[in-house]
Amino acid sequence: MNNDLRKKIVDMVMTGRDGHIPSAFSIVDIIEILYDSYLKYDSERPDWDERDYFILSKGHGCLALYVVLERCGFLTSRDIELFCKPNGILGEHPDCTKVPGVEASTGSLGHGLPFAVGIALGLKIKNMQNKVYILVGDGECHEGTIWESANVASNQRLGNLCVLVDWNGSAAQLMPRDNLQAKWRAFGWNVIIAHGHSEKGLKRALTSANGFLNSLPTAIIFKTIKGKGVPMIEGHGVWHHRIPNDEEYKTIMESLT
């Protein structure tokens, strides 16, 4: 669990006066490991033909992506400082026309997966070996386009596609009767359940996903905690879209130290 990245996320929110801290804390470990150990990229050439694709479909978690993109060299510290500022390129949802390394402009849920299916299908037609990773929220899985695309992906046998589900319990707040694992399996996908905040769990799952010998797409359902790392903001309460005051900021930083 990377607390330095979490601290940077909180600082961005304090500077930009906006942002979804708990959603970013839920996924930052997944994105960090993905970029560190699995994703093929070149920050000097964000459009490199041989890169793997990562699409953050739950765009409101973008702070997690931004801090990782900075660490990987796509963004500068100045970009980070200008989060949500009129002269900056980073907003509360990622804009691929402005931000190097961002593959899709997301924010309206349910768009990322069908977009990723198109990329994966295109790569398959071109016989290219690039992989396509896409991160969706479990709440986002209420969207019909998720399951339309899941159906298309398995029927087209898109083995180059891997969905990372941020299973932080948001969906169950509204519809407790849900079985994500059974659903993805029913749509013909390989399914892995994993811990979304431990390096060991993350690596085991992502390595397993790479090791499937069949040609089906894979869903890794990561058990995560919204707001993970700071007990005060964990869960599904008021912190979803809240800016800490000075005292809360201090408490958050102490929790992350």
Binding site: H111, T145, V152
Partner: protein
């Protein structure tokens, strides 16, 4: 003149371009599957009958475009334009991703299928999207030429295919994206026509002339970008304009013409279009045209009633 249905021309154009351009891909929502089989056979791996999931098909096409393909999405108009509007807006236009949408079931072509299959507000919706191109070809050749001109450019282009042609033939060089065609030179009345209603406008000429009018007829196959130069030139001359179009009154071509004309003092205007209401009656395409007044007789009567020479 070619009597080929425009929809058949769509399939033929896909086949011809598909043979030469390995980046053309066609994704359909279970419509026109039969006529696209030659393309499917000649271009294996580049034809997908994705099924009944229009929003997903649009996003998929945007994803394919991102990695260099020129996607063509095709199915019935309301399911793509109205259901899939957010996908068009965000996945193509906002992200500046190019592609092509070809719709059938224009306006009330599926006349007896009711409002679920009608689509007469598409131009109004699409015109809100920056950077989009909207093409309404009125014969087979127009589709073929305009598609070839645009399908690889950097924009999303929407082609609305009507069920019937206007029956006119043009020189190939006259058909240019964004350029209207002056069908008849006139002096005291401009008629702006789109789609099959170019024929309606032409059918009205004889009666209008007998009443002392000298109508100028401007035909527009491109709704975006609209040929403001040609329109302004004609409006300056005639000071009277009648727009005939298969679209709801709100947001149609008539609104564009009115906006252009806003600087003219005393310009007179008639809109022959679809009232802002659902068409819940049944009957043929022609029956619907009669019901909403898209006929040459109504055009003549409106000119007689509203304009004075």
């Amino acid at each position: 003149m070619s009597k080929k249905p425009i929809r058949q021309q769509f399939a033929d154009t896909m086949l011809d371009i598909g043979r030469k351009d390995p980046d053309l891909v066609v994704l359909i929502g279970d419509i026109s599957h039969s006529i696209l089989q030659p393309f499917a056979q000649v271009c294996p791996g580049r034809y997908y009958n994705v099924g009944i999931c229009e929003a997903t098909i649009l996003s998929m096409a945007a994803g394919m475009s991102k990695i260099g393909f020129h996607p063509v999405v095709h199915t019935i108009a309301p399911f793509l334009i109205e259901r899939g509007f957010e996908q068009i807006k965000l996945d193509f236009c906002y992200q500046k991703i190019s592609g092509n949408i070809v719709t059938v079931g224009s306006v009330f072509d599926y006349s007896n299928l009711g409002c679920t299959h009608h689509c007469y507000g598409d131009f109004a919706l699409l015109k809100t999207l920056p950077g989009i191109q909207i093409v309404y070809p009125g014969n087979a050749e127009e589709f073929d030429i305009l598609f070839r001109q645009t399908y690889r450019n950097e924009y999303l282009t929407v082609f609305r295919l009507p069920g019937i042609s206007h029956g006119q033939e043009f020189c190939t060089y006259e058909i240019l994206l964004g350029k209207g065609i002056k069908i008849r030179e006139g002096s005291n009345l401009t008629i702006v026509a789109t789609g099959p209603h170019l024929k309606t406008a032409l059918d009205a000429v004889k009666d209008l002339v007998s009443m002392g009018w000298d109508p100028e007829i401007i035909y527009l196959h491109t709704i975006r970008p609209v040929d403001t130069e040609l329109l302004l030139e004609s409006l300056c001359k005639t000071k009277r304009v009648c727009v005939i179009e298969e679209h709801m009154r709100s947001g149609g071509l008539g609104d564009d013409v009115l906006r252009l004309a806003s600087g003219f003092g005393g310009l007179e205007f008639i809109s022959l279009s679809i009232p802002d209401e659902f068409i819940t009656t049944y009957g043929s395409y022609k029956d619907h045209c009669i019901r909403v007044g898209l006929t040459s007789e109504n055009l003549v009567n409106k000119v007689k009633e509203i304009f004075t020479i």
